[in-house]
Subunit: 435 residues, 4 copies
């Protein structure tokens, strides 16, 4: 995570201030729960809540204490005691540091997931708007980078919409994975703390109690979370790659918006480069890479070891901040994408009608020609066109074996663009629920 | 995927015979659907179905054709035509190779997922049985590899159960991700094929129509599928690592079953090594590694490129076969695991009562000692025990600052093991729905 | 590793026959070394060598024994004893299985490295030949997929040559990493075997003795080896991606060779797809992915655990066979690549002279115009050209601010293509040592 | 990279101040080189050098300009012009941004490599010192976590030394990979800049000219660099894992140094956890993960795209800062490691002499017993010991089949510890060049 690729709302989730505030809330809720079940005096719990809520935690002071005791939660509790006074002794009773750390991390991840869901909603809205805008704008469909058959630019965007809609569902599932709370003590047996405390805190924080924890919340949950972010990043890469291709000099069917003051190149003043989507390609590589250490974190030793911690201090912010930035950037790109329908049409016409070859092939088989013969007939007329030696329609009409089976009108009918657009509404209805 | 780590049922899914059979079914169902909507003669579709169903496809023959035409689906269709006769010309009408290939791959993956789900069920059954067997068997809980507080061996297994139960849910979701069918033509516009064909084939194969495909079924689905397998593999690694730790010479609380004829080491005849779980650790690394190329596969160019294909020819079998083998092996390990409750008790007693230090700490604070002072008192009596210089209980009783606050009986009460087991039923009920 | 992407010579290295042959050589050399230092009778060592050399090891028989004893080396030694007779008792004295397994794996890897080095030599030869063939063929250089300035097709190939030449040096270093031998006993102390045995065997097998082994040869060596293969694969992906771009319908400056009988698409007969380089892109993803489990293999427990073994049984063949195939395929692609210099020239002319904008910018600054003003002048004439509204040279001449500083001839001189080619010989000399 | 796991010297390399200083040096050296070959006035180059050298670049000002022009190098040049005055127009002539950016990145990486080499030297020194300290301290060697045969603690450290010595050599090679300079213009043709400028700047900065660049320095170099860091990190993980194992409650042969004020656990005051080495395990996962996006960066499109940039802005600092911190932390751990030779001896004696089983096996075969029979004899006496039913030496002496072949004295001789230490000097001489 670097400032250049970070947005303030997501970054704030990972600030020490936010972290200590969440720690406090966990501790104070737990103390209150202990009061509810009669373990600590209710007034003490009240004082903890009130004094802590009113206070601003002094990050520098906590850091100073940590340098001495070499333990972050103890440092925080020491500082809290400075604020709360004698009632602080009722705080953290029967709890272990991980109860605080793991629950806090999950609170941060759920908040991060909420921001990412909002990012996805914005992206989906932009994609839907642009998809309908270009629903029937013909453009060449390409497989292997080679012209295949016509499609529409709206269909390209509908595919992107459907893909990010799936990403949204995955993120909802991933959020549920890590929306758990553990207040279960040193090895998860609730020896020193009543399970009702966990239930109370979980409810206050909008989490679910972890069914069985072992000091730590099990890290398969987090592995699944970060793996899901990696998949979302891969979808970002796909759409970014599409834009990069469309903006190539030879294709130029669409372009990232280029603001008036912007300079494309220090050396070549004419250049307008797809730098945003190239940037997104790189960011996707990063978010994807964080899935691996998250998976390696699963196999903690026995009831817990702390090897996951350094990983999570990094990938927690790195993955969520970078993905948040990337989604917002992609939304901007798609929202303002400059689209050139005319160039699309020109490119479509570029191969001299070859894009209609399959339709000719089918028409021939329907006239009773074998598939193998049809293929041969079509290919022998396609190849000269490919070499720039003529127009596909003309050549077909002039081929006696073809004209023996199909009239000129029948051949020409194969070249109708509308033929390819007739199911656009069907697909739009599948994707958007409307056409 | 290598034979050593493969089981026949999963391997069979990836045989050429199975693949061609599925290709045939897709083609034959599609031809039947075309007959239903009046595009091809019903009798022709019937003949295709009957002759193809009765035939055994000749893999060597198809391979020979492919070497000539350098295209696998065309090779298959050519061979099918040899079997079916002239009606073969109605097959594959308006379809593109990817319609067959992608739908087939998803059929294979769903079948693989079904086997993996059965594997998980078997593993869950073994874990549940053993968890109840050792529900109240005390054992030391360890954080950082250091003795922490008592837990039970059943709780360790309950945690594993809960983790694999989550893995099961994830796999169900992952299966749904890739249970789709696409019969949408060259760039997914249904230009040459009616969407009803896709719906018909999907239903016959137990799949869902892909809402919008672009010759290919989008690969974010597969990325999610293989990422999920990677997470499951990581959970395997966790449980395997636990067994490896328990079997260490110095711990020896449990052992992999060692069959009579087995030799542990060519050089050291006494050795009984946790080779199965070490092996599982390595297999987990492999399954996890396949998530990455699956994610890189997402960003295909434009409507498709074929870079994903070589990856999937490898990781399709490699990931599913290896994971199937690993789950079955882990089930065997857990089912036959030799458990030594006595050693567990001996290890538990090893630290001279230090494992009860937190309880003493809590008791002191409840007597009104500040948390900081309590910590100091406990630590100064714990350190000599750690150095082997005495027994914790004795030292505490002899400490005047401690005895000023707690009677000997109160101190002794802190050393009661039952204290740690009182919530086992609560946790079992959360995990298994019964205790 | 699958047959489709495998070549026989590399595959043979990983066959059980080769493995058992190498095992035998290690054991027989070691026995001979033991004879040299007087530990076993020389005649016995001679008999072992002769009978073993003459024999064909029965893979099925060894497998059957292994199923019983569950230990591969013991199974082999048992079979060897069946062949050699009573003298077999002198075999494997003081050795441990890993002495055989690890040394064998390194022999296999060095042989694999030798094949890969030969592959790289063939690729370098093809690249050099084609680089000189197109040394001065002008083509547009592209940054961000956007036309930048002219370069030559030979320079593109020279860059690829330099990159694979670096890969070759890396592979030489990687080969040295794993060209070690360990015959050091159960924990590497040479307690039961003299270090001279290790030296003897190492020399016979063309290896170096491992300075300190601990039953296993340390796996950082193998991590480095497989990471290096991953880097080479990434360079394959780069060149493959270049070809894929060049073959795009809109670019079409080069094409993979398309054999007469080949069919590009089952549906679209005109298509000629860059399937080989797309395939290489996927294979690169696979080879790259194997670096990860190889790195995870490094941290074996204490003197060794066997978790690396299953990983290596897979990635040993998978990585080397796939990379061998990929290098050979890439060599074929580059050797037969169909190049279209005319299209290159057409594409170069496509942007109406904009590719010369930097040269105009420089000329203006050399006439005393500030960099900022020059940039502004160039950009305001470039933008209309970009929009298809005119020719860059004409517009510049018509711009009064430009013509106030430069004569028409001076402006025109900026559009000379030769200007960009003047250092080609310099670069070729750097890369090939000749121009 | 986060502050918690960062050291100031390495962090400084990645500060904007350092970056702009390097940018300035590249630009100023290049201007001077242009003066040398007569392209710009020598006095102008002198003024650029002097004014720039004396100035402090205003990072905030440059950022402000960048926000407007959206191009970092142009922003810097604009600011430089504010400092230098009219002579600034001679700066950057014929260069492209990447000339500055790529060369700067390589300068930063070589400086980072130098720090890492110094880190490795410090680690090697610590390992050598401790290795000699415990050269002959007996400890049990473990394979599969199971007691195998005796070794010495010094040998464990010698192995670590040898491994990090290899890492050092790899890093030297990796440093050479990225110690190159490119000043070759927009597509690397030197069209607007003389190759002598590149040579001049390279020499001034201690770099080698990149033989053929294409606006960018090829990223296979960086992939190799970061992959090497990943391998080094994996070796850190290995040694860290060893310490974690040794500190386990049941093993406790060594411990991380635990400072007086330190608290091990907020809940369990007696605990002393191997938190530093657990932390290193996590950091290793992170450094390793950065190898992947670095490899994906290789396949830039055509002469360059900028997708690598965001990746490198992150992994450049992240990988080097984290690895620097990890190496320094590991050095501290090994330097201050508390070693318990007595516990080592106790653990060694734990298995009732079973660790000598192989020696007994060998002695029996040397007495003419077949390998299979020897194995059987040893195993039948080992198994009761394993079950805690007796002492290996006593049982062997009582076994009539054994005593028929070996006298009691001969059997006892097999239990001599010195036997296992006799080659320690040989190994030390191999590793350290002295014993």
């Amino acid at each position: 995570m670097i400032e250049r690729y970070a947005r303030p709302e997501m970054t704030a989730i990972w600030s020490p201030e936010t972290k200590f505030r969440i720690w406090f809330e966990i501790e104070a809720h737990a103390t209150m729960a202990l009061a509810e079940i009669g373990v600590v005096p209710r007034e003490a719990a009240q004082i903890v809540w009130e004094k802590g809520s009113a206070a601003t935690f002094d990050v520098a002071r906590i850091d100073a204490i940590e340098r001495e005791v070499k333990h972050d939660v103890i440092a925080f509790l020491t500082h809290l005691a400075e604020i709360v006074g004698p009632e602080a002794r009722f705080v953290h009773q029967g709890m272990t540091s991980s109860d605080v750390l793991d629950t806090c991390f999950n609170v941060q991840l759920t908040r991060a997931a909420d921001l990412l869901l909002a990012d996805l909603d914005a992206l989906l809205a932009a994609l839907e708007r642009r998809a309908f805008e270009y629903k029937l704008t013909p453009t060449i469909g390409r497989s292997h980078g080679i012209h295949a058959e016509p499609t529409t630019f709206g269909l390209k965007l509908a595919q992107a919409y459907a893909e990010f809609d799936r990403c949204r569902s995955r993120l909802v599932a991933a959020r549920a994975e890590i929306a758990t709370c553990a207040i279960s003590g040193a090895v998860g047996t609730f020896a020193n703390i009543d399970p009702r405390v966990e239930e109370y805190v979980a409810e206050k924080l909008g989490l679910t109690p972890e069914p069985v924890s072992t000091q730590v919340i099990p890290r398969d949950r987090h592995a699944m979370f970060f793996a899901t972010l990696g998949v979302i990043a891969s979808s970002i890469e796909r759409l970014a790659t599409e834009v990069r291709h469309l903006q190539r000099s030879e294709v130029l069917e669409a372009e990232e918006y280029f603001s008036p003051g912007q300079k494309g190149s220090s050396a070549m003043p004419h250049k307008r480069n797809p730098v945003l989507t190239e940037n997104l390609t790189g960011l996707a590589r990063m978010v994807r890479s964080y899935a691996l250490p998250a998976m390696e974190n699963v196999a903690l030793w026995h009831e817990r070891d702390i090897s996951h911690s350094s990983v999570e201090r990094m990938i927690g912010p790195d993955a969520t901040v970078t993905l948040d930035f990337a989604l917002a950037r992609l939304t901007g790109v798609m929202d303002k994408l400059v689209v050139y329908p005319e160039t699309m049409q020109n490119n479509l016409d570029r191969l001299g009608g070859l894009v209609h070859s399959q339709r000719v092939l089918l028409a021939l088989t329907q006239k009773g020609v074998s598939r193998e013969d049809s293929y041969r007939l079509v290919q022998r007329n396609a190849m000269p066109v490919w070499r720039g030696e003529g127009d596909f329609l003309t050549l077909l009409k002039a081929d006696p074996e073809v004209s023996a089976k199909m009239s000129d009108a029948e051949i020409a009918e194969c070249f109708d663009l509308g033929y390819h657009l007739k199911q656009v509404d069907t697909i739009f209805t599948r994707v958007f629920g409307r056409a």
